[in-house]
């Protein structure tokens, strides 16, 4: 940016918001200048979403003041925020999929004669706004017939309609490909040149550094600092976000690698699967799982990773094959049956199959333990409190409040609670399906560290992740999946790299 702009268009001072059991924002200040792209950064749970929702009127602030163009405003709802000139494009596009593009762009701002909408004029106006964004779509086509990228541009067109002074982009790029991101950024730059203040939130550092002029960093609901982009190199940004130096992350890798002990003349495996398979789910595979070892499962999305985990954990019933747990033939007919043999499975779908949003952290942790004990033997309160307190401390669950509703926690902390749920059952085998998905750097590192430590303590771990680097870093052996079958098993030595795995996936594809 060139000369310092005269006055901020948005000035938020001393903003605090609390949810039951969670202090989401604590005395946070934030300002936004016209004609700049301002990135809001922080880990999951740092308060980014909460701050945005305060600015867009979705949440009401408990204390503090919000000024727009020097005048204090009360934002009791999204309509008031829009009236104040603040428009928002959300991660999951919040438009009406059942209406046309023109109807969505103009909804609430249709051209009218008296009380009646003039559709022809409305459509023409919508087309004008779309044209300004160089968006070549038929205004009469259904919104749902377009890609997410186009839908987001339609949402931006809405902001033009209300002549927004502030445009909030909340994770707009998470489901776009590179070309679409470039297109979005072109639009953002032209809006910026028109003097619009853009608030940009993204997990992608490259994009932050490509588009932003200024960065505000939050951590644990508090303001860490506001910097011009040039004054804040990436390393410093990450350090500011997680509150410790980047070296902490690097340390984990060393640790995981050092624990690699290749069981050549191994002790007896904890679990042996022979020819285990299910029609339409995953083709028969063999696998041995050893105590004290992390087995990584690599493969593309939909390659059968989750299906493998579900067969091993009793969530699905196999059509073929045998499972032996400690050399005793076992039928894993349900997750509960698996649990009683010391096998715990943490699902990839945290929201739908993992947490129970309306229960507290304590209740969420207790679920599996209680299931294992049976319905008629309640866990004594004192014992439960002990267990919960232990895991909250050990996993550094934030906030450390067992009575907080789990849906008010950030994704990373929800994942930690789920880990605690399974660890509380003292499993011998822990199957983790995408435990770090949608989690920020810091929490990710903590979970990885924890998994390593569990294996060192003698637990057998199956670790599934879309991130090959992560699988490589953690596991001692790797199962490679492709097209719903196990195509290879590798010992993770130093010469195994992501390239090796990708090659294995590709090669086996050529052979098939």
């Amino acid at each position: 940016m060139s000369a310092a702009p005269p006055a901020p268009v948005v000035q938020m001072t001393g903003i605090s918001i609390a949810f039951p059991g969670v202090k989401a924002l604590d005395d946070v200040g934030f300002r936004l200048f016209p004609g700049e792209v301002h990135a809001l950064m922080g880990e999951n749970g740092a308060g980014k979403s909460t701050l945005i929702k305060a600015l867009t009127g979705v949440y009401q602030i408990d204390s503090g003041r919000i000024e727009v163009e020097g005048r204090e405003v009360r934002l009791d709802g999204p309509s008031q925020a829009q009236a104040a000139g603040i428009s928002t494009v959300y991660q999951e596009v919040n438009l009406c999929a059942n209406l046309t593009v023109a109807e969505n762009v103009m909804l609430g701002h249709e051209v009218r004669h008296g009380p009646f909408i003039d559709w022809r004029a409305t459509r023409r106006k919508a087309a004008e706004y779309l044209h300004r964004l160089h968006l070549d779509v038929d205004p009469r086509s259904m919104l749902s017939s377009h890609t997410i990228a186009v839908q987001q541009l339609c949402a931006i067109a809405r902001a033009l309609v209300v002549d927004a002074k502030v445009l909030v982009l909340d994770e707009p790029t998470s489901s776009l490909d590179n070309a679409e991101v470039a297109e979005l950024f072109r639009v953002v730059r032209s809006l910026k040149d028109d003097g619009v203040a853009v608030l940009f939130v993204s997990h992608f550092l490259d994009q932050i550094y490509e588009i932003s002029d200024r960065i505000t960093v939050l951590r644990n609901g508090r303001l860490v600092g506001e910097h011009m982009i040039a004054d804040l190199p990436r390393r410093d940004l990450i350090a500011a976000m997680i509150g410790k130096s980047g070296d902490a992350l690097a340390g984990i890798e060393e640790k995981a690698r050092s624990t690699i002990t290749i069981h050549s003349d191994r002790e007896e495996p904890f679990l042996t699967a022979v020819g285990l398979g299910k029609n339409g789910s995953v083709q028969p595979f063999d696998v041995d799982l050893y105590a004290g070892e992390i087995l990584g499962v690599a493969g593309l999305l939909g390659s059968g990773r989750t299906e493998l985990a579900r067969l091993l954990s009793g969530a699905d019933r196999p059509d073929t094959g045998d499972v032996r747990v400690q050399s005793a033939l076992t039928r894993l007919t349900s997750p509960l049956a698996a649990l009683s043999r010391g096998i715990a499975y943490s699902t990839e779908d945290r929201k739908k199959e993992g947490i129970v949003g309306d229960l507290t952290v304590r209740e969420n942790i207790a679920l599996a333990m209680q299931a294992r004990r049976g319905t008629w033997r309640p866990i004594p309160r004192r014992q439960l409190d002990d267990v919960v307190a232990r895991y909250i401390t050990a996993l550094q669950i934030s906030p450390p409040n067992p009575n907080a509703l789990i849906r008010n926690l950030s994704g990373g902390n929800q994942q930690k609670v789920l880990l605690a749920r399974w660890l509380a059952t003292a499993p011998r085998l822990l199957i983790l399906d995408e435990p770090t998905r949608g989690i920020d750097v810091g929490a990710k590192a903590e979970i990885q560290k924890l998994v390593t430590e569990l294996a060192q303590d003698g637990m057998s771990v199956v670790f599934i992740s879309s991130e090959l680097e992560e699988v490589l870093r953690l596991s001692q052996r790797l199962v490679v999946m492709r097209d719903r079958q196990k195509v290879d098993e590798l010992v993770n030595t130093d010469d195994v790299t992501t390239a090796t795995i990708l090659e294995t996936i590709a090669e086996s594809g050529a052979r098939a």
């Binding site: 999204p78 309509s79 009236a83 928002t88 919040n94 438009l95 249709e110 559709w119 259904m142």
Partner: protein, 349 residues
Amino acid sequence: MSTDEMVRAERPAATVVHRARRALSGFDRRFLPVLGTILTLMIMLGVGQERYSTERVDFISMKLLSNLLVDNSYLLVLAVGMTFVILTGGIDLSVGAVVALVGLSIAEMFSAGLPIVVVLPVAVLIGTTCGLLIGVMVQVFDIQPFIASLAVMFLARGLANVISVNSLKIDDDGFSALAAWSLKFGEGRELWRINASIVVALSVLLIAFLVLHYTRFGRSVYGLGAGDGGAAVNLMGLRPARTRVWVYVISGTCAGIAGVLFALYTKSGFNLTGIGMELDAIAAVVIGGTLLSGGVGFVLGTGAGVLVYGLIQVLIAREGLDSWWTRVFIGVVLLAFVVLQRVLAVRRR
């Protein structure tokens, strides 16, 4: 490789399909369910024309249309109100009971000597109040529409029983004159008429059409049906709360008007009137191409749905079958339409 050849052979076919789909996309897909309704209507009219036309009188005639409207005007008004509610993804089970309550209230008010200019507005307002009650429960107390309207259904039916458990005859000169009034067209066997009920029902339909398609309120009704309990509309800066209360008020008001029309039709009030009538209205709305999940549908389609419903009754009567068969056929048509909606919804994904 043979697969390559197959791919090549398939390609022209694929482009044809693609082209057809593009041609279709110019045409609004939202009309597809309504097209089904109109097709059904035409088939039924064709069957009727084929089987019941005599040399002197065609089956398809203004007389048929006028009779259909006279017999189903109350249902049309109910279904129009129900369309608003279903478009938002809600449901209103109270309307049948409200019709009974309104009918008995009219009879009671007339016997108390109130003039017609007071009785009819009050009767409609009874329906409005019931709707408002549901709307407030749904919006303010976040109660599911099914439960909220079920509660009001019991309330209205209960109050109807409190007024009288016997059929009350409506005895008022003005009311009788209104019921008997009609414009006559044609001669002899071709004679057809427009009565007060038809005028009211068609006016309601027309107003609903204008409101739904040509006002901002109508747009937010559709927006509420986009799912997530109106989250999208809320985040777009509109006012979903007000809209949601209003659709139930509209449905209740329509139920009040339908109660008046039904009283005009039967010239009496009875506490067992309209049991299951709310389900007839819902059936007509669904047959008319409105998705029960909300967000998609047309009020004119609802009009066609009511005609299909009425025509089934006419055809059954003309066939000389027991009237029970009406229900069977409505069930079959309803099933077919629900499956059609499902297929369209799956293809859209």
